[in-house]
């Protein structure tokens, strides 16, 4: 079939563009300085929360980009393709359990998963790894233990989080199915550059140069979506009407749904969310568990990263699959724990 895509001509940045960019930055600085946000409590709260989300999450994106660049430059093509030949029932649990070895939060796991898929790992296994790593890693499990220490629900929460997190990650990987990396990953401008370099006549660029180029590209690409996600999450945290939460705590089914929704909008780091979950003393273990399992897989901040990393439609599939499997798992825990 003939390619009917009409490409709009790309206009390159010139001196006027850079002057405009610089003007916007200077204007932003002047406006903030003159407006004095301290006069408005909500503006001050918004900036403190927005700043904290970025300052905490960006280093993890950077660490993720660093690992992704190492994979890209130093892992030979074909290494992961051998793993892709394993049967899916074996590959998905293995990918999920591999998350134990990566003490990274959810922001770091996205660039790593993208690079693993690009390098030949089966996409469904890459997704399972991406979702499992922020829930199963030892730092997160330890923080869950300390948050619920001294409570009767301690082991329900620790074992439940690990088991349900793994099961949900595998189930979502299964739902993603046999999609190819081309169907799943959103193309990026630097992929095109990379392809051109590969085809280029003459000696390829030195490895260390390629490492820094990939590191920077991944960080800059993920970073922009993180800024967007952090803006949304900070807005919600600043304005969320608090009174709606407590009313549903004792309503069966709805309590689980509300806690999953809350995890989505709060966009907390998986290494600290257990302390927040533990604070919802009015909710039962099943609802708290739903919060702990779905939060590191789908939230505002991550949604922006997913939109930038995966093709259209992926986010919708992921949200539905994670929400549905977590809900079923949490309801099962509710039945078991009474």
């Amino acid at each position: 079939m003939a390619d009917t895509t009409i490409r709009t001509p790309v206009r390159n940045a010139d001196a006027r563009t850079w002057a405009g960019v610089l003007g916007v930055l200077v204007a932003a600085a002047i406006v903030v300085r003159v407006a004095d946000p301290e006069r408005f409590a909500w503006v001050q709260s918004f900036f403190v929360i927005f700043g904290s989300l970025l300052i905490q999450a960006l280093p993890f994106v950077l660490i993720g980009a660093l690992a992704a660049a190492l994979i890209e430059v130093f892992v030979p093509v074909g290494t992961l393709e051998k793993l892709a030949k394993l049967p899916r029932p074996l590959q998905l649990p293995a990918a999920g359990l591999a998350g134990i070895a990566f003490p990274i939060c959810e922001c770091g796991s996205v660039p790593i998963a993208r690079r693993l898929i690009q390098k030949g790992l089966m996409p469904s296994a890459g997704i399972t790894f991406m979702l499992a790593a922020p829930v199963l890693n030892p730092v997160v499990i330890a923080s869950t233990f300390f948050a619920f220490r001294g409570r009767s629900s301690l082991w329900t929460m620790v074992i439940g989080r690990f088991t349900l997190g793994l099961l949900v990650a595998i189930a979502v990987g299964w739902v993603i199915g046999a999609r190819s990396k081309g169907d799943l990953l959103r193309p990026r401008p630097d992929d095109e550059h990379h392809a051109k370099h590969v085809l280029e006549i003459g000696a390829p660029e030195a490895r260390w140069k390629m490492f820094f180029v990939h590191l920077g590209n991944d960080f800059l690409y993920m970073g922009r979506f993180l800024v967007l996600g952090a803006t949304l999450a900070a807005m919600v945290q600043t304005f969320l009407p608090a009174s709606i939460i407590g009313r549903v705590a004792s309503t069966p089914v709805l309590d689980v749904v509300v806690m999953m929704g809350l995890a989505f909008v709060l966009s907390l780091c998986s290494e600290s969310d257990a302390f927040i979950a533990a604070s919802f003393v009015q909710f039962g273990p099943a609802a708290q568990l739903a919060f702990l399992v779905s939060g590191p897989m789908i939230d505002f901040k991550l949604s922006a990263l997913y939109v930038g990393t995966f093709r259209r439609g992926f986010l919708r599939t992921l949200v539905i699959a994670v929400a549905a499997t977590t809900f079923v798992g949490a309801m099962w825990v509710k039945v078991i724990s009474g």
Binding site: R11, N12, A13, T17, W18, V21, L25, A28, A29, V32, D36, P37, W42, S45, F47, I49, G51, S52, L54, I55, Q56, L58, P59, F60, L62, I63, S143, F146, F148, R149, G150, P189, H193, H197, G202, A206, K209, M210, F212, V213, G216, L220, G223, R224, V227, T238, L240, A242, S243, I245, G246, L266, C269, S272, F275, I276, A278, S279, F280, V281
Partner: protein, 250 residues
């Protein structure tokens, strides 16, 4: 004798000539800007306004890694093949620097009464200090918060009724707060401010009108836990500057 350069050789010559890549240089500048922000946070101590002591290690790590990433990208910015930067990408890169500018220009600020009122209704505190910690030693705001999360904690704190306490926090006043009382509030942060929960005690026996919302004060007095509410009968309330680390870490 004149030498004619064949078209293929000429093309090869052009390709082997190195030029600066605007895309890589712009990226290096963005990385440098973020690196500068992390160095600023580290050297000014402002990281304490955003992170807990538990996660403050990310600031020096990010400062060093971002600086190295920026230097590495600058060093690899000479390319054989032109890598132009589109206007759209240039604007996106510029917008990525906006948060850096804002965080550098904004005066140092912390969460105050506005957020306390938003959070108190749906987040109490998830600090799970053991009952043993509450039962013995000097009482802290963290112990008070922890005691509100379980029956055992509540009972352990109740046993400490009548003991002297010395708390530092900021004043929270609502429309229905009686004259002669204040709510003393302190945020407890596990990772970053986004996960802040509050510890709050009601302080009675305060000179009416002496303190305004968000004033930092030190309260010395006697503690009386009544159910989930904790009351401090103040013997002395004094204004203090905001602590260097305004948030508590469990």
């Amino acid at each position: 004798m004149s030498v004619t350069v064949a078209p293929l050789d000429r093309e090869r010559e052009i390709r082997t000539r190195l030029g600066w890549s605007p895309s890589r240089i712009a990226g290096a500048l963005v990385l440098a800007a973020w690196g500068a922000l992390f160095w600023f946070l580290l050297l000014s101590g402002r990281d304490a306004l955003y992170l807990s002591t538990r996660t403050s290690w990310v600031v020096p790590v990010a400062a060093v890694l971002l600086s190295l990433a920026s230097i590495g990208r600058f060093a690899s910015a000479r390319v054989r093949r032109p890598e132009p930067l589109s206007r759209r990408e240039a604007w996106i890169m510029g917008l990525m620097v906006v948060p850096v500018v804002l965080l550098l220009v904004l005066p140092p600020a912390t969460l105050g009464q506005f957020s306390a009122s938003k959070r108190s209704s749906f987040v109490g505190s998830g600090i799970a200090t053991s009952v043993g910690d509450i039962s013995t030693g000097e009482l802290s705001m963290i112990d008070v918060a922890a005691a509100q999360t379980s029956k055992e904690g509540e009972q352990a704190l109740a046993k400490r009724a009548g003991e002297p306490v010395d708390f530092v926090g900021f004043v929270t006043l609502y429309g229905d707060t009686p004259a002669g009382e204040i709510l003393l509030t302190r945020y407890i942060v596990t990772c970053c401010v986004a996960d802040a929960t509050i510890a709050q005690v009601r302080v009675v026996n305060v000179t009416p009108g002496e303190f305004q919302s968000n004033d930092w004060v030190e309260v010395k007095g006697t503690i009386y836990p009544i159910g989930r509410e904790v009351i401090v009968n103040a013997s002395e309330v004094t204004s203090v500057p905001q602590p260097e680390r305004p948030y508590l870490t469990p």
